[in-house]
């Protein structure tokens, strides 16, 4: 079984617990939306799964295809098929997107294996055409001086090239105007398929109009407090997060 399984996960930043006993299983082909108010631990969850050194897992486990990945370095997790689309992608001055992706593709190859440059560029341009990205884009330095929309498209392009098994998309809609949002969502929809599981982290229901999830989970205070299908997102939109808080208080 090649699912991404989060079991009773507890994550802390320093001494402060952020994620508290969170469990969730994502199967290939499924899109799970994680919604919730700010500061509830959504981004922490994604970064902890990817292995960010600032986040300490104090309890629980994360399994990929039945095997724990917690002992693995971030780059090993990435090569195993976990992709994090960053909310705030870093700039890498002087390194072009084409060269960066080439290094990332090369890193996935066996020792002594040489990357076929012609085939690589062919594939890169194919993906760019698919995502309707201008070819000039790849000669620019990674994220340097990019607009919010360009940064997110750059993330989607990387995802398309690296073909992960699971994508953790952290607030992919933040900072985007409606046109940019539509373009990015189209890109994600293009990559959707039976081989890809997606965790879609968002604050707003808006994104879910373009990327329709199979499941919606509401996160509050480090836990998933409510799960349902896409109708849950609409309910949240009309009743707000206070509704969830009140329900929790009653319980």
């Amino acid at each position: 079984m090649s699912s991404l399984e989060i079991r009773d996960l507890h994550v802390a930043i320093g001494e402060k617990p952020i994620v508290k006993s969170l469990s969730l299983t994502i199967n290939p082909g499924e899109v799970h939306a994680i919604m919730g108010p700010n500061g509830t631990g959504k981004s922490t969850l994604a970064k902890a799964i990817a292995g960010h050194p600032d986040y300490t897992i104090t309890q629980g486990d994360v399994l990929l295809g039945g095997k724990s990945i917690l002992e693995q370095e971030p780059d090993e997790r990435a090569r195993a098929g976990i992709f994090l689309a960053f909310q705030y992608p870093s700039e890498i001055p002087g390194v072009s997107i084409a060269n960066f992706l080439r290094a990332a593709v090369q890193a996935r190859m066996g020792e002594g294996e040489e990357l076929d440059a012609t085939a690589y560029y062919k594939r890169l341009y194919q993906k760019m055409d698919l995502l309707k990205i201008d070819r000039k884009f790849t000669s620019r330095s990674v994220n340097e001086g990019f607009s919010g929309g360009e940064k997110k498209r750059c993330e989607i392009l990387q995802m398309a090239m690296l073909e992960p098994r699971f994508a953790l998309m952290d607030e992919t809609d933040s900072g985007l105007d409606i046109d940019a949002l539509r373009i990015v969502a189209e890109g994600v929809n293009t990559l959707r398929g039976p081989g890809l599981g997606v965790m879609l982290i968002t604050h707003y229901q808006r994104l879910l109009e373009y990327i329709v999830p199979d499941f919606v989970h509401v996160m509050y205070d480090g836990r998933i407090v409510k799960s349902g299908d896409k109708s849950l997102a609409l309910e949240l939109e009309s009743r707000g997060y206070d509704w969830v808080k009140q329900e929790l208080a009653v319980a």
Partner: protein, 482 residues
Amino acid sequence: MKTPTDLETEPAVDVAENPALGIDQAAGDFSYDVSYKYDAGVGLNENTVRYISAVKKEAPWILDFRLNALKTFLAKPLPTHWATRDLENVEFDKIRYYLSQGQKPKRTWEEVPDDIKKTFERLGVPEQERKFLAGVEAQFDSEAAYSNIKDIVAKQGVIFLNSTAALREHPEIFRKFFGKVIPTGDNKFSALNSAVFSGGSFIYVPKGVKVAQPLQAYFRINAENFGQFERTLIIADEGSEVTYMEGCTAPKFSTSTLHSAVVELVALKGAKIQYITVQNWAPNVFNLVTKRGVAHEDAEIKWIDCNIGSRLTMKYPGVVLKGRRARGEVISIALANDGQHQDTGAKMIHAADETTSTIISKSISVGQGRATYRGQVHMGKHLKNCKNNTECDALLINTNSRTDTYPAITVRGDTHAVQHEASVSKVNEEQIFYMQQRGLTEAQAMSLAVNGFVNDLVRQFPMEYSVELKRLIDLEMEGSVG
């Protein structure tokens, strides 16, 4: 002579054996037994100098020049009032100042002795020659063991010889400029070089000749405790153009080794000289080099200088802008790894109207490595419309890395334009995590960040050199993480 104690030699041993240096580069870390025919012994005095001059069968004026230089060298103090006190660790009386197999430079590859050939094969000299070189003057220890000028270049009247042969065969050309750009007394190390110089390349490009392909020489140090004192003089006559490339890889030894070269360039009216260096010294080498060029009217001199490795490098390529509208440029990259100090920079002396100069310097400090930039820009009061643009950027890899910038800018007169920009940045953890999340190891991520930092400069290198440079940076960064 002082007797060595364990304490004295210890620091050098530490540096050489420190695995964190990551300088293990397969191409340079080897040495073969070579039986030296001539050996000037250990230490330096008048006899050493006389011995070297006699072996080389030099004209009396050169011997006088050397003896004079020896006096100057002995009289001059170490410049520790501004430079690092690490210079005090150079043990001048334990160095061999001259070694040679007493061979004439070889013309064809077949004539080169096998063990020397092996060394060069590992350095890729013949291969590179086939690819793009017009002439190769590869220096093995003191003398050039292999030299070859392609017919085309020779037919154009270009002279490309080692220092000994050039001074013997063409004194009428070289004597006039020898020791004039960098006088013996310029500094203690230029004086030392002037006393014991050996090898190096002397080049003369006749009027109007444009050498299409770069000329190249490789330098290596191949004997323990052996200082290498090559001497290079390039004269580009009116309207001519030449590019010279110099690459250095040295085998590792556990005691200190001294490299002290003097490089003089003369670009006459309207001539262009480009001098490219990629140096990768073993971590026990003191690399104390004086490089300067004189650019006459409408002439252009460009130094591209890349320093990796060594224990201490002190090098400030300069251009004296002597003629109207002369242009000078220094582009430098320095990488200081643990236990290394790269003290580099540039000098631009404006001595005529409407002269322009550019300095772009980038340094990378890894671990406890230290990079220092020293720049001198001088514009006199009587001059008009001179321009300088200086940019120096430092990248720190670790929190204990160090960088210093000492710009000295003297501008008199009111029609000059001078611009100085400096920046210090650090590779941050988020950047590294971002790259790791794409599947790169931490070392690969570091290496990519460093390569990105120097990318705009590396693009100005010839292709072969930029590939080599990228590989060297990768190797240096391997030891920098974890």
